[in-house]
């Protein structure tokens, strides 16, 4: 059982990327590179499913730990997973093959480079969710900027340069403070090993500043309200596949970071700043929902809805209740599937009609009936209809919020209504109504590969919507453990004050 399964999971995509880099495709279309990439990413998906199968869901410890000496004397390369991170790993390995299948439609130039960028990106994303050392985490967290910058910049839309720069610099600016915090933690406690830090704890006097430094990074990445402006730009300009990766996985890094690091390492500071997070989350939920309501560009609308959904996630995490945190994790998984699906759906019509403006569409139901059906499922998933994954996440988060603060919960509930409003209105304007635009009539319904990718997303959204048990089982023990540690630290600090 000493096979380094996590490292292979992390490295496999990179090996695939190197393979593609050094092989020449016989035809000019790079079809074979695509099959290699698909094969690698599917193999990785199967590997991660195997991991889930052998994973002991009742244990609260980190599993499959690998610990190697890396920076001699300072820092070890340490990876391991618990019930929370394994879901994100599977989400990543699940979304990547879907992305690779859908490059067909959206990427017209330099397909080979694009596949390499996506595979490298997968390595970094899995690395983020597996790392159990702050420095290793930072390394993967930041390294993801490079391929994403290129994906937006090379294959993006008209304002791609501006968006790519904004994305890169915003995220970098947020993250450098986290680096200061990580190094400070090293000198305060003598280690950056997350497990050891959980045991040792960090002295109360340092926690507030360190929490803020981590927060600055995660808030930008989430993105939370005042620093969310890079997201609509990045989403709109990125190619469809880039948007999918960004929405489905990159945004989840921050939510994951909040649970793993902010709450896990700085419980006292998290308690102090709970109100700040509530307020920012509520503004994100209400304000960006209103903004989303008024968007004319489909991708922008979905981007703003992402900000609102991530507002629910941060709210749920900082309720510090079992339901709230479980709901947040569930919401992140759900949003990962739903937003990926929505961006792919927008990609479908964009590829046929070359515009994302909502008012250029209408009456698609009579031209593309199959499309209308899947798009409806995703819309309902996004607005949180019972029976889809979206419902369970939001419901649990609101339950957690009601337990802690009724006012906050009530305001957040408004967000659910607004969410329904903008999603349904979008659906109405695009799918129903008259066909105003004669150009639309020539549009063809879904192609085979689109049916594959979209139905691959419909199935889990509905399945886990009706039967969330497998996911809940996996996270329950770990969330409980996180909360126990959190409460233990709080009680200890109160006791030491008296």
């Amino acid at each position: 059982m000493n096979f380094p399964i996590l490292s292979s999971l992390i490295l496999l995509p990179t090996i695939g990327a190197l393979f593609i880099l050094f092989t020449k495709s016989s035809s000019g279309k790079y079809q074979s590179s695509k099959y290699v990439a698909l094969f690698i990413s599917l193999a990785n998906f199967l590997l991660s499913l195997y991991l889930w199968y052998v994973f002991d869901k009742n244990s609260i410890d980190f599993q499959f730990i690998e610990n190697r000496e890396w920076l001699s004397g300072f820092i070890n390369y340490k990876v391991g997973i618990d019930g929370i991170s394994i879901l994100f790993v599977i989400l990543t390995t699940f979304i990547t093959p879907i992305c690779i299948i859908s490059v067909n439609a959206t990427i017209k130039k330099r397909l080979k480079d694009f596949l390499i960028a996506i595979l490298i990106m997968e390595t970094f994303m899995i690395g983020v969710f597996c790392s159990l050392d702050l420095v290793v985490f930072y390394l993967f967290f930041e390294a993801g900027l490079i391929p994403m910058f290129l994906i937006i910049g090379i294959w993006g839309g008209e304002r791609r340069v501006y968006s790519a720069f904004k994305f890169f610099l915003y995220t970098l600016l947020g993250s450098v403070l986290m680096l200061v915090a990580i190094i400070s933690i090293y000198w305060i406690t003598g280690t950056t090993d997350v497990e050891k830090l959980y045991e040792l704890g960090i002295k109360a006097e340092y926690q507030n500043l360190l929490w803020l430094a981590f927060f600055s990074s995660f808030a930008v990445k989430t993105p939370m309200w005042p620093v969310h402006t890079w997201l609509p730009d990045a989403h709109v300009e990125a190619p469809t596949v880039g948007s999918v990766l960004l929405a489905a996985i990159l945004l989840k890094m921050a939510g994951y970071g909040f649970i793993r690091f902010s709450i896990g390492l700085f419980p006292l500071a998290s308690e102090n700043f709970t109100m700040l997070v509530y307020i920012l989350s509520l503004i994100a939920i209400i304000y960006t929902s209103l903004v989303a309501l008024m968007q004319e560009d489909m991708k922008k609308l979905i981007a703003y809805s992402s900000v609102a959904h991530m507002g629910f996630v941060t709210l749920g995490i900082f309720t510090m209740t079992q339901q709230g945190i479980e709901g947040s994790i569930f919401q992140m998984i759900s949003h990962g599937l739903v937003s990926a699906a929505l961006f792919l759906s927008v990609g479908v019509v964009y590829e046929r009609h070359h515009t994302r403006l909502i008012n250029k569409y209408g009456g698609l139901v009579s031209i593309m009936p199959r499309y209308a059906i899947v798009f409806m499922v995703f819309t309902l998933g996004a607005l949180g209809l019972p029976g889809t994954t979206g419902f369970i996440g939001e419901f649990l988060i609101l339950m957690g919020a009601f337990e802690k603060n009724i006012l906050v919960a009530m305001i957040a509930s408004l967000g659910v209504i607004l969410g329904a409003a903008y999603m349904l209105w979008l659906f109405k304007r695009v799918v129903f109504g008259e066909i105003n635009n004669q150009g639309l009539k020539s549009m063809k319904d879904l192609k085979t590969f689109e049916i594959i990718t979209l139905s691959a997303l419909v199935i889990p959204i509905l399945f886990f919507g009706f039967y969330p048990e497998p996911l809940m089982n996996s996270i329950e023990a770990s969330v409980e453990n996180t909360l126990n540690m959190y409460n233990f630290d709080l009680i200890n600090s109160l006791a030491s004050k008296d």
Partner: protein, 471 residues
């Protein structure tokens, strides 16, 4: 007489210089021969230094010359990068008609001067070494004498450098006057009590050294000299004098002036912060790649000095690691620059890189790696360089320095990204020549792989450097 076996490298290189000079004078058209011979002699030199590096600290010539871990390591990276500088530049100087016998000889003498600087343990020996390398560099920077920019840069460098040498000398004389010795160890012993004379001496010496390392506010010469000099000389400027000057910085701060760290720490912190910010901001508007790399090197020196400001072994080691990684990044960057050749003309404006990635995927990928590494983005080597520096800085609780430094990296990231944008996002231009000489290709391959794969085994350099202790 037994002292001589320890300075065999210096003797060897001096003899080679004189021998090559004779060959050059008596044998016609021997420029290429001498160039190759010089390269070979540098390789032998490297072997000789490595051979000596197993020994412990040795004082020579009445304690005026010192061979220790610091000097050995610095000499190794100095000569090692010297070899690569020669390898990458060989084609370039032929193309722009600079292949004269003096060129390699001047480079060798300058390296000799730097080796003397690095090993010096006495003000007079130090100054001799400094002037030997400076004189060679004055000529080198104006080597392309028919070019207006090159002559300008030579003159500018000469005037400003002479001024700084004057200040440095004044500082040395003040130090000598108040501490009654020119020997570094003796100065340390004699300067236990605070006095204004030595303090002024430190300030003047630091000014002179800051000039050599092109740190703000003594950086004015760098952009012009970098741009005006032939590119192969710019590469030399960007790496070797910095290694020597940093080594001397470490030596001065931690041997003769070790007791006065509260006097110089503020100065170093100021120079460091000013260089980091200025280098990052001023590079934004640049159009010429050589000018840009000049500003970038100013800000990189700021980070290297930040390590020295910590007054800890950890800090010194981080600075040395930083300069080691910095030199590899520069080698890679300039190798790419040497490849921008079309019809015997070299291109050096940022605009010339437009759309490079379409026709030259490998070259652009190397540039991408180098630029992200210069910006300090993980998992590339440049990140680790900065990481060690900040590890040391934060250990001493100098949070202000750390935060300013990291914010400056964000500003700096902007202009590196701008180059990447031009390479990858912009429309393509004419193709460049694709046949390059082997030395250039090897250098680029080695340095890029080093930068890319550094994270796999990052302890390598740290373990070697950790032997260097000054406190």
């Amino acid at each position: 007489m037994e002292n001589f076996q320890y300075i065999l490298p210096e003797i060897f290189i001096s003899v080679s210089i004189m021998l090559f000079l004779l060959v050059g004078v008596f044998k016609k058209n021997s420029a290429s021969l001498i160039y190759n011979l010089s390269n070979i002699s540098l390789v032998i030199l490297l072997a000789l230094i490595i051979n000596l590096s197993s020994l412990d600290t040795i004082y020579l010539f009445n304690n005026s010359y010192l061979i220790d871990n610091l000097s050995n390591y610095m000499k190794i990276i100095l000569v090692g990068s010297g070899i690569f500088v020669m390898l990458t530049g060989s084609k370039y100087i032929q193309v722009i008609n600079l292949n004269k016998i003096e060129y390699p000889i001047l480079i060798l003498s300058s390296i000799l001067g730097m080796m003397i600087m690095i090993s010096s343990n006495d003000l007079i020996v130090f100054y001799m070494g400094l002037e030997l390398q400076s004189l060679a560099l004055y000529v080198l920077s104006s080597f392309n004498r028919d070019n207006l920019l090159s002559t300008e840069s030579g003159l500018k460098y000469f005037v400003l450098s002479a001024l700084s040498s004057g200040l440095l000398l004044y500082g040395c004389s003040l130090t000598y006057g108040f501490s009654e010795s020119t020997n570094f160890d003796q100065i340390l012993i004699n300067s236990t009590e605070f006095n204004y004379g030595t303090t002024f001496g430190i300030v003047f010496i630091l000014v002179g050294l800051a000039f050599k390392i092109s740190a703000v506010p003594f950086h004015m010469w760098a952009p012009d000299v970098y741009q005006g000099s032939p590119t192969s000389v710019t590469l030399f400027f960007a790496i070797l004098p910095k290694i020597a000057a940093l080594s001397v910085f470490i030596k001065f701060l931690y041997t003769p002036f070790a007791n006065m760290n509260d006097q110089w720490q503020t100065i170093i912190v100021f120079i460091s912060i000013a260089s980091m910010i200025f280098g990052a901001v001023a590079a934004i508007g640049q159009k010429n790649l050589k000018r840009l790399i000049a500003y970038s090197s100013i800000s990189h020196m700021g980070y290297a000095l930040a390590g020295l400001a910590t007054v800890s072994n950890q800090g010194i080691q981080s600075s040395i690691t930083y300069i080691s990684i910095y030199l590899v990044m520069n080698l890679a960057f300039f190798s790419c620059l040497f490849m921008l050749k079309r019809n015997d003309k070299y291109y050096e404006n940022i605009e010339d890189l437009s759309g490079l990635s379409k026709k030259h995927p490998i070259l652009s990928f190397s540039l991408l790696i180098v630029l992200f590494s210069l910006a300090g983005i993980p998992p590339l080597a440049g990140f680790f360089a900065k990481f060690y520096i900040f590890l040391a800085v934060i250990e001493q609780s100098m949070y202000f320095l750390a935060i300013v430094g990291l914010l400056a990296t964000v500003v700096a990231a902007f202009y590196y990204l701008r180059i990447i944008k031009i390479i990858y996002f912009d429309p393509e231009k004419e193709e460049y020549e694709t046949s390059h000489n082997l030395g250039l290709k090897i250098t680029l391959a080695i340095s890029t792989i080093f930068i890319l794969a550094y994270f796999i085994y990052p302890s390598g350099i740290t373990e070697i450097v950790s032997k260097i202790t000054m406190i």
